[in-house]
Symmetry: C2
Subunit: 464 residues, 2 copies
């Protein structure tokens, strides 16, 4: 006889079809939709895509994959910028985007219990008439499960913290299908190892998140947005540092460099603004508090040469400004029609931020790159878009090289290789450099303890 022994993944597919039916797909189009996120990594196709709808299905699927040693790659909205969702060793992609139930909202406790496929837009639409909101805002249409997995943050982490500070607990399916609950409904706890925080940022390598208990916040009585323009990067950063030291609780403080501002003025028709380094700010609080905060920042900005400080409590004008900020990526791309961009993600101590920004910008110019910068500068985090011509055979590699230089500079300044996008495939080489071999060995030990067969999102975070 000359039979070909079946692949382990085929055994998983056959068994999973028993309980998932048509929600276990091997269709080429579906597999292609799950080949990568929104990054520039080369796509890989999974053998099949499973659309789970319940914790029990996730548990059964993982137990099967564990038994057969088949890789599992969790997938939310596919907005990763670092290759998290690429099934680099094929196997099963576990799509959680249909797990969208909002199971509880507790207004008195200001918490809620949701499934991982809920997006932040869906949640905030649902919460609005209860006077509550979920503040973490990475900009993209990501799922909150994906935000937990990658330790996401965004524009208003400076006031409300990152996802890490806004999760009370999780339900997690372990590699072998066992289900645990981490945390509790209590606002704080000193009750054993912090498995919640261990799972947050573990990028699908330690377990699959199936429920999330989030902290919520009251919608502030008043919000205002402000814009202020500066002669150079340094003066804008000095303004941020002084604002931070003074304790003014700004809700958002975003920097756009001159190139990015020029792109936004053009793309979003921001009449009246100059193509110079610019801060976008937002203030939350009572009407009086918002006015007081804006006046205080205006005075600080003036000390550093900030001009044209303009603030608006009008929702329409505020939304116009923030839409322009959120469209910055598209505005940047429009600088070079047909080109694409790599988006770097470095976070440094704020005292080194001006040095990081000016250095990265000068280096990029010297190497002939078109780049533009947006930054969540209250946290020292910035993204430098490096544009490249996809028709130039060396374009992408040159952009990667520039990315590596920006990260190396950030690390040398005491920063991290990723402020909020995560490690995935793109930052693996920097992880050891940042933490050292011993700390990485501890991480690997934890990985081996929780996923001894290495089936959960293999190839991510660690280089082997």
């Amino acid at each position: 006889m000359n039979t070909i022994s079946p692949r382990p993944v085929d055994a998983v597919i056959a068994a999973a079809r028993e309980f998932l039916g048509e929600r276990l797909s091997t269709a080429q189009a579906v597999r292609e939709q799950h080949g990568r996120g929104e990054d520039q990594t080369p796509p890989t196709l999974p053998d099949a895509v499973a659309f789970a709808e319940t914790t029990e299905e996730v548990s059964r699927l993982l137990a099967l994959c564990h038994h057969h040693g088949v890789p599992v790659t969790p997938f939310g909205a596919g907005t990763s910028l670092e290759g998290h969702v690429n099934p680099v060793r094929q196997g099963i992609t576990l799509d959680l985007s249909r797990m969208t139930a909002i199971r509880e909202v507790n207004p008195e406790d200001m918490d809620c219990l949701i499934e991982p496929g809920v997006t932040r837009h869906q949640l905030n639409d649902f919460l609005r008439d209860q006077g509550l909101f979920f503040p973490v805002d990475p900009g993209s249409h990501c799922t909150i499960g994906g935000m937990c997995a990658t330790r996401a943050s965004g524009t208003n982490a400076v006031r409300y913290g990152t996802i890490r500070e806004n999760v009370l607990g999780l339900e997690v399916v372990l590699a072998d299908g066992r289900v645990i609950e981490t945390g509790s409904r209590a606002r704080k706890a000193a009750n054993g190892y912090d498995l919640t925080r261990l799972m947050i940022g573990s990028e699908g390598t330690l377990g699959v998140i199936t429920r999330i208990r989030l902290r919520l916040h009251g919608i502030p009585e008043a919000m205002s947005a402000a814009v202020c323009q500066f002669p150079d990067l340094k003066s804008a950063v000095e303004t941020v540092i002084a604002t931070s030291q003074s304790g003014i609780p700004v809700a958002r403080i975003e920097l756009l460099d001159a190139d990015m501002m020029e792109a936004c003025v053009r793309f979003s028709k921001l009449e009246g603004y100059k193509p110079v380094t610019t801060l976008f700010l937002e203030f939350h609080g009572s009407h009086a508090a918002v006015a007081e905060q804006a006046a205080a920042v205006e005075a600080i900005a003036a000390d550093y040469g900030g001009e044209g400080f303009a603030w608006a409590t009008d929702a329409e004008e505020r939304n116009r400004l923030w839409k322009a900020r959120h469209d910055a990526y598209w505005a940047g791309l429009a600088l070079k029609p047909g080109w694409r961009a790599l988006t770097t993600d470095v976070c440094v101590p704020i005292s080194r931020l001006a040095e990081a920004l000016v250095g990265a910008k000068e280096e990029a110019e010297a190497l002939g790159h078109t780049t533009c910068i947006v930054g969540h500068v209250g946290d020292g985090n910035f993204h430098q878009m490096v544009l490249f011509d996809p028709d130039d055979p060396e374009g992408l590699e040159r952009a990667w090289e520039m990315d590596r230089r920006i990260v190396a500079r950030g690390l040398a300044l005491g920063g991290t290789c990723s402020g909020e996008h995560g490690v995935g495939l793109g930052k693996r080489e920097f992880l050891e450099q940042e933490h050292g071999a011993e700390a990485l060995a501890v991480m690997r030990g934890i990985k081996n303890s929780l996923d001894p067969k290495g089936i959960l999102n293999p190839g991510k975070m660690f280089r082997n």
Copy 2:
């Protein structure tokens, strides 16, 4: 020949004396000082106490203990309330209280790097003239290393977070003497497993913390304290919930039940206050913001029957009120001269807080206990002092039984067995009940991965 083979700990003592000299003590008095914390657990004496002064000494000592399989119990100021520092399997107690260097303060980044023996009082005295402060305030004269190890919080976690939210990174010596650094100087990061948060709250069972990088905060322009008295527990809790929902950023909101308030009025001579349920509050911000916040809370309190809302920006009056609050433990003890107290530590969802408090109080009264309550109620955390007569042979056991009932009620209401004091010896039986066997197995797996010989603070957190 009839020799007695030397004990492993003797080999450690002999070798450690080589580099610690007289800082490795086997004196009875020193060992007795390290037999337990400030709790009611039975003391155990270590074989020796090592007073380390450098990371290298900690590393060498742990490598020795690891080699010989000798238990190591880290010790800071010895203020544990849950038996964390009792060397229940003897061996070496590692006293870190001499590692008191403040190595860096970075005003622009509002961070600092300290050694673990620094107390919060020392740090705040050092920071004051730079306009900065470290907010986490558990009340006791604890070391910040101990606060990290036990995930401490205290009165103003409601505004500034617990120690967890205020640590950027750690230096940790692993069980075998290897040294790792966790986190980075960046304010946020998505850079691999969160080893910082894993170590925080691990109670000395995963590694010994030798350096701590803390987030600092600007001393607010203005602070005011307020007191408001209520007809019952429920109306005070309703006031807390409404305040929280309204987004008023109170810095502290502490509840004292009628018995505790009576004790404080007597002990701290708080003339003019009634022995009824009372909230102590503190507001931080600009002068205008503090006034606005106080007025807003006063209006909410009035809706729930709060009377005599009095607030003071005067530092002397503010300090007098907070000293009374911090002396509440002694005031409670003074209710029964010669008696001692167990202090429970439960945290529940705030919507269940009134139920938890009223239930625990009624149960205690029915069982004939004298108890009084203080609570960090903005977080749903409360401590019920259960007084007992040390001359009554059953007194302590009856108090423990009451403690267990209070915890069981807290768990049934969706809370945690420890809001801030930790697990140690006292809460081990509840840890499995709270998290379930599978989550506890994950914790044990992590413990085994980092400390395969089980030398680090054995007998704590887990029951075997």
